[in-house]
Every structure is written in C-alpha cells, then in structure tokens.
C-alpha cells in the first residue's frame, strides 16, 4: 500500500470527549469516527487492524475444527420467547417492529438462532460433536456506551456454539475452545489471563473469561500465588473464615451522634474496622433485606444477586428504611427491626463475635453483639463481598488483584437452551436425548481497544506485530524531489512486499517530523527512512517502534533484520 493512495487522517489534538487512552489514540490515529452514541465507523486504517484480529480468530477456530456459518442479525421475537429471554434479557435487547408490526430484535447473541438451526439440522449423535461459529456484527443497547469501541453498542463478535451428546463431550468441546482462545490471544501478542467467571444473562454451569491485562481495565481479577486459581472478582472466593469465637462482651448501646460510617464508629470506639459490620438495606420482591458485610469489606453486587430471591434486588428507599427499621441511614442494624426483615450475612460476618452494628436508632450503635445470643442466626450465610488483595486464598496462597479487559468468554451451557427449545437428537441407543451445549464469544472489535490499553507510549500505539496495520513503514525524505531517491524507496518497498513483509510506503511528501509522528502514532512496528544522504552512504535508517535510537543499516543487514 502507498499512503498517498490510502486514506490516513491523523489528528494533532487529543479529542476532549475521549476518557480512556485507547479511545483517545484510536481517534487521534483516525481509526474510528463516531456516528452516534456507541456507533463507530471503522476507517480504512482501523479496519486493517480489525481484519488482522478477525483473521487470526478465524484461523484458530478453523484449526480447532469449528465450522463457520452466518446467521441473520435480525431475529424474530418468537424464538426469544421460547427461552424466556425476550423479557429476561433486559434493556440491552434492541427490539423493533417491521412493516407488518411483527416484533424482532437486533441480535445481541445467537443462542436461540443456533439452537433453532441445530434442531433442524442435527438429528443424530453421529453428527456430534459439532461446533458452529460466525464473525458478525452484534448490537447491545448499553445504558451508557463509552470508551469508544471498548463499550460500543454495535460491535464485531466471534460467537461459537458447540453441541455434544453428553456432559463429558461438552467439557471436551469447552476445553478445545479454551485451548483455541489461548492460542488466539497468544498469537495476537497480548498479555492475557483466563479467569473463572459469572455466567450472567447467558447462563449455564461453568464459564471462564479471557482478559487482556491493563491498569485501565473495568474488571478486577483475582489470582492466587498458591495455585493457578484465577477468577473475576465477581465470583472469586477467599479462604473460608476461621470458626466463630465465643462471646466475651455483653451487648451495650453506645452513643455515636455523628458517626454514620463504620470507619467513624471504629475510630470513636478505638476498635479495628474488622470488628464492625456494615448493614446494607435492600428490597427484593416484597421483602426487606439487610445484607451484612464486615466494615472493612465491600458488598459485591454480582455475588449478592446470586443469593436466592435476590436476583432482582434494589436498594431500599429512606422511607422503606424508616418503616422497616425505624431508623435513618447510618445507624442501621439487624437488631430490633420494626417489621419482619430477612438478614443475609456475609460468611465473614457470620463468623464474627463481639461485633458492632447500628442500633436502628439515630445516633446510636450496638457493641458486643453476638449471633444466637443477641439476635437470631442469619437467614442466609453466603460469600457476598469483594475479596481484598493480600488475603489468604483457599489454596493457602495469597490473593493478588490485577485489572483486566474482558475480550473473551466461554460457557458450558448444559441443556438449558436445548431443553427450552425442544431440541433432541437420537443417541447411540436410538433414544431421543437433549444435547449439551457450550458457547464461546470473542469481542473482536474490543480486542483492538484492549491491545492499545496494554500497548502504548506517549507517542502513540505500540501494536503487537500480529495486529499492526502494516509491519514496516518505508518513509521517503526527498525535499529536492530527486528521482533516484523515490526510485530507491519504491524498489525497497517492492522488495519487502516480494519477501512477504507487509510494508507500506509513505510517499505523501510530508516533512520528516510530521511523517514520523504519524508513523509512531499509528504504531507501525518498524520504520525505514530512505533519503539522499543515506543513499550516498549506502545505508537506510532503521528504527523499531520500541527502540530509543535509530541505526543506519546496509541493504542486506536491513533485510535480514526485517525478515527476523
């Protein structure tokens, strides 16, 4: 490619409305242009990178035996009603009516469509295992689309769906995808980690997320130094708490006139924060719920929602708090409620003795509280908190936290969708049986942004080789428009292309400063400068994008370097 024949349009200024570095750099490099909230046009430069990612994903899916097909984006409501997700999927599902007023959605995922395809196409265990995939534009109506293509509404996804005759087969198909994903992210040159994950709206029994590690990541990931245990904080567990100690204090009411937080109460009473319990007032269905976590812990909303009955919980209003607890916020606790409440205690709280809670009276807390003696045992004991860096893991190691950007997610779905949609195949005994399904997603467009979050410097993007729009930029410095300089650059460019190196010729005629700034910004891994002075000396100026200095190399040395 000659840049004079390409459409490259970089920006000097950093766009004011971009919050994260990948979004800023993608706009500065001219990879994206915003069309609307969460809607982006991929410019020719952006698309080159997107296609490189797509290509590697496709190669590895094919190599893993998955078979590509292409499903419609627009999907009929009836299918989604078979699984109950027309209602349950929530506001992310973009619904629409056609001219006949039939309802459809713009597909956010394709479990229903593939299961419909499978129930028509697969009749026997002999056709299993099979894994179908597609690379396709998806739409999710995010409440708050942001960070460019990191959380766009329309995005490119690779989604795959496996069908197996039994659970062991499903586990094997899942492992194959785990291995394929590992190869994909390795080939892309990304620092990544697979972690245990919550299944969310997709559902199923087991799932893992693949994260690109980056400080700016939206997800907190937990791993242990004691084993290969790694999990999203949404599902990570620390070691179980020590057994509850015997009570040593008596229950007493303490005056805490202005102390509304655990921190303030602990300071006033001069006790560790870990001796206090935080009460979070919720409403779920018709029930008032008090969730308790230690004062030094934070409630994890995903874990909390997994407690039975709390799937659709919301925070209680002040009026509800007054009605059920007879108190104002800041002084809440599980003792002496005005009406019946349900107490959900984090397992660490359930293991506490002689602890402090709010007294359900403005200006007062209770100290020396003990389960069983001062209040009934909790209705539910569960792990509902975020783990904390440095605490002990179940395997005896220490828990560490890093941040990641989710770029892949694999699920063992079990029979959920096949059962809901009446999909059966004949097994080896001729008996109709419901197959086991897995599904496997990769956010192709998000990978591009995640790679930048992980790989950039103050001059711009540092693409991993496999994702770079081009491998080598041949830059011409030729202020006097000398024919032999242009010809030498052209010859080198052709030689590199002939050697299978994806080179681009910067023949735009820019001044060196502007040209080099562009090439660094868009992250070309290798730069070669062809100039009259260099040609006189018989050398080309070579510089790796990550190197501090450039070198003058003779033709053969340059070619050897670029081939390696």
């Amino acid at each position: 490619m000659r840049l004079s024949q390409f459409h490259l349009r970089t920006e000097k200024e950093t766009p004011a409305d971009a919050e994260v570095i990948s979004h800023k750099l993608m706009l500065k490099a001219g990879m994206l242009r915003k069309l609307g909230a969460g809607l982006y046009t991929w410019s020719p430069l952006g698309l080159r990178v997107l296609r490189k990612v797509e290509g590697i994903v496709r190669e590895e899916m094919d190599a893993a035996g998955a078979i590509e097909l292409l499903m419609p984006s627009v999907q009929p409501r009836e299918l989604w009603e078979e699984t109950g997700r027309w209602e349950k999927f929530g506001g992310q599902l973009l619904k629409l009516q056609d001219r006949k007023e039939s309802w459809y959605c713009v597909g956010p995922t394709h479990e229903e469509v593939i299961t419909d395809f499978a129930r028509a196409e697969l009749a026997s265990y002999k056709q299993l295992p099979v894994n179908f995939y597609q690379v396709q534009t998806k739409f999710r109506d995010e409440i708050r689309p942001r960070f460019g293509v990191m959380r766009a509404r329309e995005f490119l996804m690779k989604d795959a769906y496996s069908f197996d005759i039994d659970e062991a087969g499903m586990a094997a198909s899942y492992q194959k995808m785990h291995a394929a994903y590992t190869r994909i992210f390795s080939r892309l040159g990304l620092d990544f980690r697979a972690v245990q994950a919550d299944s969310g709206a997709i559902g199923g029994d087991a799932s893992q997320e693949f994260h690109v590690l980056a400080e700016s990541g939206e997800d907190a990931l937990v791993f242990s130094t004691g084993s290969d245990y790694a999990a999203n904080v949404e599902t990570a567990h620390a070691a179980a708490p020590a057994p509850r100690a015997e009570p040593t204090e008596t229950l007493r009411r303490v005056e805490t006139p202005t102390q509304k937080t655990c921190e303030d109460v602990a300071a006033l009473l001069d006790i560790p924060l870990a001796r206090t319990a935080k009460s979070v007032a919720l409403f779920a269905g018709e029930t008032f719920v008090l969730a308790l976590v230690r004062g030094d812990h934070a409630v994890n909303p995903v874990k909390l929602a997994k407690v039975e009955g709390l799937a659709d919980y919301r925070m209680a209003t002040e009026a509800e708090i007054a009605e059920y607890l007879g108190s104002t916020p800041g002084f809440l606790g599980p003792i002496g409620a005005a009406r019946a409440i349900r107490v959900v205690a984090d397992r660490e709280v359930a293991a506490m003795a002689d602890f402090v809670v709010g007294a359900n009276a403005t200006g007062f807390h209770l100290a020396g509280v003990n389960w069983g003696r001062d209040l009934p045992e909790p209705d539910v004991v569960a792990d509902i908190r975020d783990v904390v860096a440095g605490e002990r893991a179940a395997d005896g190691g220490e828990l560490r936290l890093v941040r990641g950007i989710e770029v892949g997610h694999i699920f063992q779905l079990g029979r959920k969708y096949a059962e809901a949609m009446g999909f059966k195949v004949l097994d080896a005994n001729g008996k109709a049986t419901v197959p086991f399904m897995g599904c496997y997603g990769i956010g192709v467009s998000r990978i591009v942004a995640a790679a930048i979050e992980q790989n950039h410097d103050s001059n711009g993007i540092l693409w991993p080789a496999a994702m770079a729009p081009w491998q080598v930029a041949v830059c011409i410095i030729n202020p006097k428009h000398e024919a032999h300089v242009a010809e030498a650059a052209e010859a080198l460019y052709r030689e590199l292309r002939a050697a299978g190196i994806d080179a681009v010729l910067d023949d735009r005629g820019l001044r060196p400063g502007a040209m080099f700034a562009d090439i660094e910004l868009i992250g070309i891994p290798h730069r070669v400068v062809v100039s009259a002075r260099g040609l006189e000396a018989g050398t080309f100026e070579y510089r790796a994008r990550t190197a501090a200095e450039s070198e003058n190399l003779e033709r053969q040395a340059l070619l050897t370097r670029l081939r390696s």
Copy 2:
C-alpha cells in the same frame, strides 16, 4: 476439507414453498435455512460460496483503488432527515427506537453515513478523488420477501461511494467502477449485461444496472442489434414514432355493448389493435389523469411515475371514474369528460390519426378520433410504455428483450447528497465547493442465487469455477474398508491441496449413489473416484460436472487435467 469434519446436509425432497430454482436448489443443497420472512442462515456450505464471491468483489475493488472501511448498520434518524429520506425512503426503511427512545434505522444503504464521514474527513481537493467501500449486511423491509436470498430482507451488499471535485472526475470514477464491475462478473464466470437504468430512490443523473441473464429474471432488459444500446425496460426507448398523419375519417360513435378491451373493440371494428388507444385512469395529488397508450402497448409504471406530477400516482377508483368521466371502466376516453382531467399521452398515441377510444358512455366507443380536431392536443406527451421485442430502435437496429437478475447498480449521484448535508471541500483556488458523488452497489448474496438461476441442470447446481465451494471432490468408494483405498484417496487429496487445488475429500462412507448425488447437487465442478478396482487398474475415475461420461485416467493425466 474432509466432509466428515464438515456440516453438509442435503435434502432429497424439493422444498414445497420455494418458487424459483435457485431457492429450491439452495435449500436442497443445504446452503440456507430460513429463520423468518426474508431472513436466512447461511450454512457452512452456503457461506463458502458467499465468501468466494465476496473475495473476488474485494480484490477487484482494491485493484480499482477503492479503499475499504466499515460503517455501522444502525444509523441515527437525524442523518436521514438531513437528506429528507427518513420520510421519502418509504416502507423498506426499518425504523426502531433505542432505550432512550431515540429513532434509528437499520441501514438499507449508506449514502448519508458516508457523506457524514466524508464531510468530517475530507477538506481539500487534494484528498480527491477517493472511493470508499464496505462489504456489509443491509436490511430492507420488503413488502413481499421471496425467492430465498434473491429478495431477502437481510442481505450482504458491497457498497462503494466516490467523491470527486468536478463532474468530469465523477464520470471517470464511475467508469472505473463500470470497468471493475465488468471484471468482477467476468471473473465470477457469469453471463451478464450492463444496461441503462432508472435511478429510483437513490437518485442522481445517470445509472446502469448489471444483470445476470436468466429466463427467470424479474427484470426485462432491452438491447439493440444496431449498437451497444442496452437498457432496463423501465427506461428503454424505441425509435420515435413517424409524424402524425392527416385525418381521413370523421368522428363517429360506435356501439360496443360488451367490448371492454381494445382487443375486443378492434376485432368488432375489424381494425388493427394499433389503431386503438387504451385509457388508464389515475389520480395524482388532486388531479384526475388519463394516461393513453396504444391498444397493443402496455403502460410502464416507472416511466409513468417520471412524468411531472405523477411521482406518487395511484389508480383511480370506480367512483372517481364515474365522477370525472361519467362512465364505467371499459369505455373510458379523453373526449367528453364530466370534469376537468389531465391527459398524458404516450408519444405513439400522440402520433396517431383516425383512432379509437372509449366514449365515456357504457357500451360505446368513438372511432375516427383525431387530435386537435376532436379533442385538444394532450397536456403531456411522453414515452410511458414498455417497448416491444422486434420494434425499431433509435439507432436503426432492432430491439431484443432478455430477462435479467439485477446484481449490481452504479449511479452518478452528482451533488445531491453533498448539497443536502452541507459537505464542501476547498478547490484548487481555495474556494469551498460541493463535491460530486457516485455510488456503486453489488448484491453479494443475490449473486449466489443468480448464478444458480443461470447455471443448473436436473441434478443440481453447475457452479462457475470461481464460485464453487470446492473445485474437486475426491470420492472414496471403499465398502470393504480397505486401508490402501483410504490411504490412496487421502494421498490424492493431499497432493491436490499441495498443488493449490481447492479439493474436498468425501470420506463420509456413503454409498456411491448417495455420494455422487450430493456432489452433483452441490455443484462441485470436478469429481474423482478412488476405488479398489480403479487402483488395481492404476486409474482414477474422473468426471467433469458438465460431462456426460466419466473417464479413467492415470494419476499423471488426472493431475494434468485438474491443473488446467
């Protein structure tokens, strides 16, 4: 590819609900599966063919200097309001609201989006000419989706948009695309023709359609033996009529008690059908319009709608006919209307003398009618009829008619969109000027169906080489499961792949009849059978898909044949 590792599922029965041969064969071959009205999943087999077409389209677009990008499918209403097409595009535009109740459409075409992109990215004549394209899923909410992917609602399209500083540049960009399209359809191995076309909802000054010729085509195409003139019947013209002759008859009222058609009246009066004029009653805005064509001609609705004031015409109701003409249908004419009417005469009718029309009285016609004498000259004279095969062309040749399937359409749009959306660039004198635009579409998925309409026999599809899912099928006949037979087939398969031939190995273990039927149905151009008997004789059985007989070829002869 080994078919045992692929998902191939052919049907023995011809699907009852498919009307055209391509739809029948695509379903029988298992290329498609219907999800909903006009919504199809492309199976792995179908997708292979679709990707071959897409690949050739992309290569030729790139070779023509067009630059690929990717625009969103979901588009904000505001853009479409800038051009007025939010209302004007009509029912095919699938509109929807997001969770914030903002309106969007699922893109049926991208003139608005690309112009929005261009006005942000292009500032100077130095950046022109430029041609951006994408290959993307489109949605058009067809009233009557039918014929499988021939007229689907969701379909794959290549759309390109050129920008030039002046009209001559636009014409040059248009010609480049004309040449690229010619190469694309030639490489695809299709019998096609480019014809002059109506611009329709896209608009603009000049446009041509590319049609795959097939008897089942929805479009009638007209070409002349006298030059390279070729046009869609919607816009085709015959030679102008001879000048009007002088009147020789007097006006007279003739009794036609049961003769409601021109044919019946001509038979009764024993005159040529070409001496009668048909009156078609229309309403456009507030005006009653009578459109006149010769009795042996048919009104062309697209041409009629291009008459000033008739863009939104509809047929008149019987009540309106009674009110304006005082007659019942079958006896209508331009003379003696009860209220003011507008007369639009086809230019052939305007050139008639001594002709016959309805008398606006049930059971009567008028004969010996002459313009100027018996009724005023028509309000409008225009070409509003279908041309007829065999008539004289303007170039002196003879007009011929063929049927075609539209697979491409190129337009010179002029400044229409750029003007509406306030897009200007600086010209060489530093003056802001509105650029000239062209747009160029190819129905990628429709090409697959059109190719089948043109290339099939009673056994199935006859793919042109470039579109075939695979070039060669290596079929194993091995009822005794002999290792050397399987190995020989495998070795041949590998040798063909190594030679760059896209071969597939049919290792499914089917009986020969079922296997050959599948391979013929899915249209693999070349078939090689490996069997114990053949191996003993040192030959392979080779048969081209289009050949009547198979031949036994030795290894080297076979390879030579397949390489050529």
